[in-house]
Symmetry: C2
Subunit: 482 residues, 2 copies
């Protein structure tokens, strides 16, 4: 009896264990499903890209599969399949870079391989493998070494890889295959077929241009900085006034630290700029668009993000006193103005980049920011310690000082954006605003017209912190302020 | 005559142009030569790596070349060559990751491909290409999509690529090649031969371990932070005293900003940690060394570098007055102490990491730093403005405040390093110092023994700012302080 019951227990145990395994598998599958959905929703272009790759691969595979084409190329047809899988990348620039690298390297290495084969054959049957082995060794070592050159690593890394590969294959296989030139010709043709399929699908079917990505990324990063600076003044001084933290909701706070992603975008920006170099003229971008200048702006934007990261530490600093110090009351106005004017300038710059118009609308905000800096200096000069001591006002003084650094950085960003605008000849906006646009604006925000001077202030309540596609309002405002 | 002279001129022109072209080519070649020499000198392991790749490739090529082996594997031998070129990477971890990914993916996709082939054959001659095309499309789209999953992108990206490649090749080629299983078997064997050659050479011939690289990189970054903090106090306050900048030579200044490379190491660190995951036990590192904790320290180190970047802006700030303000005189001592004690703590942590000993020697410096912070607070509380105004003392106050942040960050770094030490069970150093080591130390630095208390100060003049291989001295100092 005991034996049977223990066997029963064993069975129940197995069933329970199987159930738990299935339960975990189900939960895991649900997780994966959610993850997939999120990726697809975050960037639907990933789904489009997957379909594009599958399409190119199916076309080339069927091309390989059907007899008439197969008879022409022999088993070399597989190189077309291989080429598609390996070179199809997310952006057009990356695909072009790999396709051209692969094509050129195959041609070069193929020719050299045939030469090596010929040279080695002069040494007789015994000398041939030694000479070939020596040549392969030499070229492989030299090519691998060149892959560490910064310039080659950046643009031609893949080409060098394919060069070594093809050279070895051609040089060594020559001994066996009699019709080496025919084989090389077949292989090159199939690679060209595969490469061309990729390039055509990549360029003409919902293309993702690396240049445009870089352009948008820089504009987005400018906006992220602006979002922080826009909120900072209110957040820091609101804290002081209430004597407690969290004046903003959690959502708004995560908006505020959106700039953090900028801290680590260097690699992305550089590879995008690198791929953009390979791209033909597209949309509003000429063939020689000043991509290098974008990197210059990117460096300054990152510099600004570092300062903001330090600044952010002071929002909920424990060093800060509970109430509002006398100094905080005095510098609140100029500091908030510095912060918000810098934010406005950055938003104008971002919008100018996005719409590829001259960023002259940012100039007034840069100027306003300079005035605010002067006001801050006056306030600091006039301040006497009174009852408070230096330790108490330490955070406020530090915030003022770093904000000053940030505003200088914003000035530099404005200068560099002007440079891009000049080199890429962004269009200058007309100072006249079309009447219907003006009317539209009156309905969109609260406009407070001033009789003389033509300086118009428009307030629009922005609620979303996500990258809004286009800031029509700021463009219009710019037109009015010019 | 005129015609001849113009022809002569043309000739002279061509000669001159050729000369200039050759001159430029020569200069270019000299540049490239210099570049090569520099790369080789900076990291001789690159040369070793090139030779290793060439060796692996030559072995596999000759294996393909010689008839007896060739007869066994047929043209599939080329897959061995291909495998070597594609998977041989700089670090052992990267090579293993690629080799295992490639082997597994080929096996999986090959099996699935044969299955697909069988399934399609059930649909008759007309249905077969349609079913096969559909299957290739489906799998290619799904696999490409999974490449965007963060976890898969990190560890199995290459495997998925090879999976798509092999599946397409097997599924589509099945129609032609009768002996598909034999072919798949041949291909897998040659890939295993290529992969094994790479792995063996990579592991046993001057291996470069990704884990060790990460370990050293983190230690080096700690030292770079320390170098800045060590120099900062002197540099900032020396400026104030002299009323002019550049108390340090240019070389020293470039030493000081060595921390800048830390700002952008995130990608390198993460890929190294990822490759380290694939590596077997080596040297002092167990199989499950806590590589993830290294990334935690890396995040804190970068945080510290951001603050230091802001701090660095104040060394030659224009805001700073010409002379030494009263405040600067008052806070110079605690600030310099905070900075130098933080630097000492970081150096101890770096040395503890390098030697894999318990970082208890850093604790006293962290404690000293906390005392310095308290002293600074006292100095600030006791300060009255007197003749100077707030604008004048702005930079000094900001520097003090950011230094306080930095010292907090150093504390966190120390805590995380303790965590690594506990998890990886770093050895605790004995408080007794071997007599011969003590003697050795007496000859290496100036040792000032104190009669009671056992607290020994050792000063060694460091002249180089490059990554010194191992700080024996600081290890010994630690042993004495325990």
């Amino acid at each position: 009896m005991e034996i049977i019951s223990s066997a029963d227990q064993g069975k129940t145990g197995i069933v329970a264990r199987l159930k738990s395994v299935f339960g975990r598998l189900k939960a895991k599958a649900a997780d994966v499903g959610k993850g997939m959905k999120k990726i697809g929703q975050d960037d639907p272009r990933i789904i489009v890209h997957s379909v594009k790759v599958a399409l190119a691969l199916t076309i080339v595979s069927l091309f390989y599969y059907f007899r008439p084409l197969y008879d022409g190329f022999g088993p070399s047809g597989m190189w077309a399949v291989l080429t598609v899988v390996v070179i199809f990348e997310f952006t057009v620039g990356a695909t072009l870079s790999k396709a051209l690298n692969r094509g050129l390297a195959t041609f070069l290495a193929g020719s050299l391989g045939i030469g090596a084969e010929y040279l080695a054959s002069l040494f007789g049957e015994k000398g041939e493998p030694i000479v070939l082995g020596f040549l392969v060794f030499l070229l492989a070592a030299a090519s691998t070494f060149t892959r560490f050159f910064p310039h080659i690593k950046k643009k031609y890394d893949y080409g060098v890889l394919i060069f070594i590969l093809t050279f070895s294959l051609v040089a060594v296989s020559g001994y066996r295959v009699e019709k080496i030139i025919e084989l090389a010709h077949q292989r090159l043709s199939t690679i060209i077929i595969g490469g061309a399929t990729c390039m055509i699908i990549s360029i003409f079917l919902c293309p993702v241009w690396a240049g445009e990505e870089l352009h948008n990324l820089i504009a987005l990063n400018l906006e992220k900085l602006a979002t922080f600076l826009e909120g900072f003044g209110g957040e820091y001084f609101a804290n002081s006034e209430d004597g407690k933290s969290a004046a903003l909701s959690k959502d708004d706070q995560s908006c505020l630290v959106g700039y953090r992603s900028i801290l680590n975008t260097k690699a992305t920006e550089e590879s995008l700029a690198n791929f953009a170099w390979w791209e033909p003229r597209h949309g509003q971008f000429r063939l020689r668009h000043p991509w290098k200048l974008y990197l210059k702006v990117a460096v300054l934007v990152r510099q600004c993000a570092y300062q903001i990261e330090t600044l952010n530490g002071y929002i909920n600093s424990e060093l800060k006193g509970q109430g509002t110090s006398e100094l905080e009351t005095k510098i609140e106005e100029p500091c908030t103005r510095m912060s918000s004017e810098s934010a406005k300038a950055l938003k104008e710059l971002a919008s100018a980049l996005k719409t590829m118009t001259h960023p002259s609308a940012a100039d007034i905000h840069v100027q306003n920011c300079k005035t605010a800096v002067d006001d801050l200096k006056d306030a600091l000069e006039a301040f006497t310690l009174g009852k408070s001591d230096l330790l108490e006002i330490l955070p406020a003084v530090t915030v003022a000082s770093i904000l000053n650094d940030v505003s200088k950085c914003v000035q530099k960003i404005a200068e560099s954006t002007h440079e891009i605008s000049d080199l890429a000849s962004f269009k200058r906006v007309n100072s006249m605003v079309a009447p219907d646009l003006k009317l539209q604006l009156l309905h969109r925000g609260s406009v407070k017209p001033i009789a003389a001077g033509g300086h118009v202030v428009i307030r629009v309540h922005q609620t979303s912190c996500s990258d809004s596609p286009e800031d029509t309002n700021s463009r219009a405002k710019k037109a009015m302020e010019v």
